[in-house]
């Protein structure tokens, strides 16, 4: 019966992970500046598909990644024969890492990518 279960749950810990903090602070900016620790997010499993890592020196400029990217994340820069990633569009499918012949693209387990500006330094990978 659901009644027994809810009474039992009343004395258990809530299931919610308190990431990043339990309640919203009065001022987010001063909270961030204060450097207080935040509750960590739920850990990611191995081989998680997170933010892309680009090894610029390994890249041979073959443009294969751009051919398989479903979201037009990858722009080819002809002058340098390198590519540029607009991560705000990335859908984390990982096809570019699979097809790259020089292993120049990798996926990390980082997933906290929110930003105010989609062209911010954090979200444009060169």
């Amino acid at each position: 019966m659901i009644l027994a279960q809810i009474i039992e749950q009343l004395f258990k810990r809530p299931a919610t992970n308190k990431f990043p903090v339990k309640y919203m602070p009065k001022s987010i900016i001063s909270f961030l500046k204060s450097g207080k620790p935040i509750v960590p997010p739920v850990p990611t499993p191995p081989r998680f598909r997170g933010r892309l890592i680009y090894h610029r020196d390994k890249c041979v400029g073959c443009e294969q990644c751009g051919r398989v990217c479903p979201a037009n994340v990858i722009q080819f820069v002809p002058q340098e024969k390198k590519v540029r990633f607009y991560l705000a569009r990335c859908t984390f499918c990982g096809q570019c890492t699979d097809i790259c012949p020089a292993d120049a693209i990798e996926m990390s387990s980082e997933f906290l990518l929110a930003d105010y500006n989609k062209y911010s330094k954090n979200l444009v990978l060169e």
Binding site: M1, I2, Q5, R49, F92, G94, Q95, M107
Partner: protein, 414 residues
């Protein structure tokens, strides 16, 4: 509140949607009411059309794969399986057996998460938020397993044309089995919480009844049809992937209670029993899974695949029993082009939409949310629009629409 005058009676019309708390996606209903009783309903889709098919005809299938996945957020891998099967059929690309088993495992995991999610939404529509929180909490386990197997929590990007992209390793198998055991233990509690709860029984018994005849005539699919007793399941009727090797049979509510009523209660029964069936299917698949290749995973193979797509031509269909019913993809390629010239998607909600009308006959206002939710509608999948010339108001008659669809069929035939 407009008054609609019938010959003798006066009906009130209330609009539900395009935005309303009981709708998770935009769809417009307008109900003719007599007091609290629904007399008739008109359904107007077209608020959420995104033009995905057109987008898919401007890029190569490897790019379209994960666009197809995003047609629906809940049954994403179903779209992926149906799409890649369509492309494989069209271009004659073989799929290794192990990859087929992995596809089955992911598809059935997705069915578990989709049905549990639906159960929570249904409870919320009934005002039973405790069950919403409970079901969504236990759903985390299957999401974690999907994240472990594929690297992504929602849109898994696991299936590719001619195989899958990640193998299920020996270390992962016990974790999957552990999650299955968790759900087996849990199922008893869920059945108790949903099917033996007095308030839920009061709200769902003999509500939203879809008779066997209506379900057949209106071409309902998936759990909606099976809850009315129609034994219709693509996994059985037209076996594909590894399903022929597995024991699977259509679930109907008479497995749980003697008669079939076709009401919302039956739809809950079917979905909960299908969770149990999916657990069994995954266990069988894990046991029978052969060793070997998983398909186009390496760099060379992917490049090779792109070349094949460009060279070959043909047309193909892909069908899959998604959590909501039969999903259908059609694709057609020309030689010397990697871009398909046609891509057509028909998703289960499109087939089930017509069954709303008989279900709403004689319902009360209070039944509207649960009846809307009971076919597990996915509006984003099924939305259709007609483009009208600017500034011209016109109403399309049934004949005109029929002529339009003939025209489209002729265009598809080429």
């Amino acid at each position: 509140m407009a008054k609609v005058t019938d010959e003798q009676r006066t009906y009130y019309t209330i609009p539900i949607g395009p935005t309303h708390p009981s709708l998770k996606e935009p769809l417009q209903f307008s109900f003719d009411l007599e007091g609290e009783r629904v007399v008739d309903v008109e359904i107007k889709p077209g608020w959420n059309h995104r033009g995905v098919e057109v987008l898919g005809m401007k890029r190569n299938p490897l790019q379209t794969l994960y666009l197809a996945e995003r047609i629906c957020g809940i049954c994403s891998v179903s779209h992926l399986i149906a799409f890649s099967r369509a492309v494989e059929n069209a271009l004659g690309i073989p799929v290794p057996p192990r990859a087929e088993y992995i596809r089955v495992i992911i598809a059935e995991l997705e069915r578990i998460h989709s049905h549990i999610l639906w159960a929570g939404v249904a409870a919320h529509e009934l005002g039973f938020d405790t069950l919403l929180h409970l079901t969504w909490r236990v759903r985390e386990q299957v999401m974690d397993i999907l994240e472990l197997l594929t690297g992504n929590r929602v849109n898994y990007a696991l299936v590719t044309i001619g195989g899958v992209r990640r193998d299920i390793t020996r270390e992962q198998e016990p974790l999957v089995r552990q999650a299955l055991r968790y759900y087996k233990d849990l199922l008893e509690m869920l059945v108790d919480a949903f099917l033996h709860d007095p308030t839920i029984e009061l709200r769902t018994r003999d509500v939203g009844v879809l008779s066997y005849k209506d379900a057949l005539e209106l071409m309902a699919v998936g759990p909606t049809a099976r809850a009315s007793g129609v034994k219709k399941d693509i996994r059985v009727d037209q076996p594909y992937l590894a399903y022929p090797a597995l024991e699977v049979s259509p679930i109907t509510p008479d497995l749980f209670r003697p008669e079939i009523h076709g009401d919302v209660y039956d739809k809950i029964i079917v979905r909960l029993l299908e969770v149990e069936q999916s657990i069994g299917l995954i266990e069988q698949a894990l046991k029978k899974m052969p060793e070997g290749e998983i398909g186009h995973a390496s760099k060379e193979e992917m490049t090779e695949l792109l070349v094949q797509i460009k060279e070959r031509e043909g047309e193909g269909i892909g069908r899959h029993e998604a959590p909501r019913g039969e999903l259908f993809h059609y694709i057609r390629f020309q030689a010397d082009s990697e871009i398909p010239i046609l891509w057509k998607v028909k998703c289960p909600t499109y087939s089930n939409l017509m069954s709303y009308r008989p279900m709403f006959q004689g319902a009360q206002i209070a039944d509207i949310p649960i009846i809307i939710a009971c076919i597990d509608p996915c509006i984003a999948c099924m939305d259709r629009v007609i483009i009208r010339r600017e500034g011209r108001e016109e109403v399309w008659t049934a004949e005109q629409l029929l002529a339009k669809s003939w025209e489209k069929t002729r265009r598809l035939k080429g």
